[in-house]
Symmetry: C2
Amino acid sequence: MSNIAYFPAMPPREDNRPGKRERTKTANRQAILDAARQVFGELGYDGATVRDIIRLTGLASGTFYNYYKSKEEVFDALADDGARRFRPLLRVEFEKATDFASFLRGAMRAYFEFLAAEHETWRVNRPAGETHPQVRATPEVTAVFGEVREAFERVLEREHAPPVDLDYLTAACIAVAREVGDKMLERRPMDTQGATAFAVGLILGGLPALPRP
Amino acid sequence: MSNIAYFPAMPPREDNRPGKRERTKTANRQAILDAARQVFGELGYDGATVRDIIRLTGLASGTFYNYYKSKEEVFDALADDGARRFRPLLRVEFEKATDFASFLRGAMRAYFEFLAAEHETWRVNRPAGETHPQVRATPEVTAVFGEVREAFERVLEREHAPPVDLDYLTAACIAVAREVGDKMLERRPMDTQGATAFAVGLILGGLPALPRP
DNA sequence: CTCAAATCCTGACGGGGCGTCACTGACGCC
DNA sequence: GGCGTCAGTGACGCCCCGTCAGGATTTGAG
């Protein structure tokens, strides 16, 4: 990390990169997030300590609190990060979809593949018997849920499907995705296609049998 | 709590109640659980502190640790308690059921009604925006899950239904029940029948559409 | 009834994580 | 080059954690 001078004098910046203040700020924020990801991965949410994260960054404790108010807030930031990366994938599936069935299939497949990819970097070394940390309803996560709901609404309306309880339907779909996804992660080989087929089959089959409000 | 003597001398115990040691032990255990229920209800799992629980019981801090090793363990004990009370209800539904459909309907209804009843005593005053504490996979909770799985297996076999991925199916049903249940708790009036109809409809409809492994 | 052993309640204590704040040095701007 | 601002620093006080030696109470035997 040494700041060796590669030039006799500090070379002038001809690009319009942000100044050093701004750069260390984003670097610190990133360092904290990286450290947090690793610490949560190794110790779990409950076992992790703000001090553990701080130690791993090499920063002073006070610096941490310039960026996040608490362990909870860093964790939420990580969840937000995931949601922010998943959102565009979901959007693409919505654009591609021609009807509810194709949207659901695409979205589920996208989610399971996203989950499998995240799993590699995220849940490195979970203590045995520990449950997954609960993903909180952060703004970005809430936004994804809302987007699912809205996509359902539009696509069902577009094909003149009979009305359903959208809140329940969204909740149920997300619940199935989460839980089947969790089970999928425990199986070897990891079968995203199988999980997709199951979840999509269940919901598509169930949809016509739903009570009409 | 005064031990006023209602008799000139300590009356002989003619029943075969357990001795005083045993009685205070169960009383303490109960006091801790009651206090924990209240504290978790008011502060949430993360916000709660072992000291908060101890304070509310009036016991010494060391006494708490004679009964439970940590905050996590008391919480799990509460979850176990709920599972232990729900288990017999589930069993009754299994006995009554004639086929998968009737079992699912009965079990779902039982769960939603149980949830609504628990809600009164349990989640008194949740801070806004706080998610529910994650119910951990305690022994008793795991047992309930296993029992659901086994009931599914038996009842599907009995009616010669084509094979399905039982793990996924169980996970999906529990997920739907949990999430739809949560949504139900937020609605006024609390409509257990509507929730049951929705969850049952979704799963019963989806069952024939599941992929066959 | 008496007494010793078993039981478990008690609360003070060392250890450590938490969040703060006065200080300082580096950066950006003129 | 000089100055105001802003983020980094780490020691500090606070509180919670889990333990343990000492003491109070119950039990069962004589």
